[in-house]
């Protein structure tokens, strides 16, 4: 039983059912009554139904995040909660970890608590196998689902993304323009966001007419000292780079540490670019140049979009925010 069954039986579009569910005023009384009657016949009573009629709302939003110790995710959650509170909503945060079964379990838990909507923070919620995202689609048949840095097509899923692919692509072209030729890309785990960044890196190299080898992309899932030591071991084996791009700032910190230990001058001999513009950027010497994905804007845009949905407005299902290259001491 879901929004599609209602749409089919009532003979109206899914968007119309969604508008009725979300209390939108731009639906005729006749259509609204037809949809409500079908819902009743089918026994379809999602939270949003009660909420659309102004009943039974807890003014509570569920937030899912995979790892609260990740700086980007923690900041996103912080800004989301601030913005929700300003709008008179409370938030329940579930830190689900990275395993699919736990993500599903927490989403069920949030639905059972009758939240008004769910916000999924981070690209870790977009699985590469299509059927593994079905549980999100199923939830979206009951309430609005907001995704940050993940995109799924569904009338009741609303995504806010930063353009990770383009940001890394442009950064590669920028550094190639400085005459850099030996590029390395570091990432910390596999996620749709990491895959987009990696693709931007590879396509950027191709665009700049530079070669890509198996040594050009490295997975570094451990901490800063381990990553520094790994880069030192590559250096001792004769691998030599003049540009290191990373999927997150902590990896760029490790690259700065490596250069210091190897006696490589930054940025003259080696340019390093972080990702996220986190607090870590201000800690290194020199300070990190980085790609700013505007976590505050992403978070606030998501909440503003949600508030408009809950007020019954029609809003676009996808909003893309561009990144900025922030120049500090590690890259021009």
């Amino acid at each position: 039983m879901n929004i599609y069954d209602v749409s089919k039986k009532a003979g109206v579009s899914i968007a119309t059912v969604s508008r009725v569910l979300n209390g939108n005023q731009n639906v005729s009384d006749k259509t609204k009554n037809k949809v409500l009657t079908v819902m009743e016949e089918l026994g379809y009573t999602p939270n949003v139904f009660a909420r659309g009629l102004g009943l039974n709302t807890m003014h509570t939003i569920g937030i899912m995040c995979s790892d609260s110790s990740d700086t980007f995710l923690a900041n996103a959650v912080y800004y989301i909660e601030q913005a929700l509170r300003k709008n008179g909503y409370e938030a329940f945060l579930c830190c689900t970890g990275y395993e699919l079964e736990n993500k599903k379990k927490y989403l069920r838990l949030l639905l059972s608590k009758r939240v008004d909507a769910v916000i999924m923070v981070g690209s870790q919620y977009l699985e590469s196998a299509k059927q593994d995202n079905e549980y999100i689609i199923a939830a979206a048949n009951k309430l609005p689902v907001m995704m940050i840095n993940g995109y799924l097509s569904h009338p009741n899923i609303y995504c806010t993304l930063c353009d990770d692919y383009q940001a890394v692509f442009d950064a590669v072209c920028r550094l190639a323009g400085h005459g850099r030729k030996r590029f390395l890309f570091l990432y910390r785990f596999d996620s749709s966001s990491s895959r987009n960044k990696r693709k931007g890196f590879c396509d950027g190299l191709e665009h700049a007419g530079l070669s890509l080898s198996e040594d050009s992309v490295r997975l570094c899932s451990e901490g800063i000292p381990e990553t520094r030591d790994f880069l030192l071991s590559l250096f001792e084996k004769g691998c030599s780079y003049d540009a290191i791009l990373t999927a997150e700032d902590s990896l760029a910190v490790a690259a700065v540490k490596f250069a210091g230990a190897a006696g490589i001058r930054i940025p003259e001999e080696l340019e390093i670019v972080g990702y996220n513009n986190s607090l870590l950027c201000m800690c290194t010497e020199p300070e990190l140049s980085t790609l700013d994905n505007h976590v505050e804007t992403l978070s606030i845009t998501t909440v503003n979009t949600l508030m408009r949905i809950l007020q019954g407005a029609d809003v676009p299902n996808k909003t893309t925010i561009s990144n900025d290259f922030i120049v500090r001491g590690t890259a021009y």
Copy 2:
């Protein structure tokens, strides 16, 4: 209606009522029945009552934290959630902010969601005015309340603390032993933990026979660049320090930045000590010496204690964990 009324009317101690509530086997059937009868007469049916009898548990724990973008708190929440999940419990996290009214609102929300217990993370939950903590006492009459880095005396409140006072006191004595004489203490906001650290600092100076002036303690509530600039402005006014202790690592990062800008050699001319042993320590050059308050141990101890309470065991209401001085590049 609370645990005290039950205790009084049943003519047993609060600890006994608590044991019955928590399903402890070390209570005679006669006493247990008396307590249960009184509870029924008084209409006292807290969650834990149902849970103690093995009914109606959601296996869900509420976590309250003031600010998910704070590194220490975010890490504590991370370890707590990992440990709860290992024990088959789910977690709901509320980021309450720093205002008392919001803390109260979120605690009410968690109680209404029928969680099995509440964990309050961080000393921000201990208010300086006694009556402002009454809402925590009231909640503890209904379910176990765990506090990390805060202490309130109540039979159903269980506290895990690190000894902030002693850690800073010892660090001052250590640096005084290196011949340091002009000490500065930086803190970022007023909390019971900050107050303990500050007191440890002042008492440490006195113990070492050093003088304390109004310039010795400074509140720096802004970011790293602002704090660095503030320290530079003090330096230009003629304030000169040879030891800077801080209430958190980000302030120590700012002190390292200041020393770099002012041409002061670390640690020869100036020793700097951070607090928390966070990721930031690995980012500076030289790396930060810091006081490690063992956030992982604090978090896991709290969850282990809670699991024993939920199994009906008698556990101490207060557990104190000592801190360690971690020597890296900014202090001997």
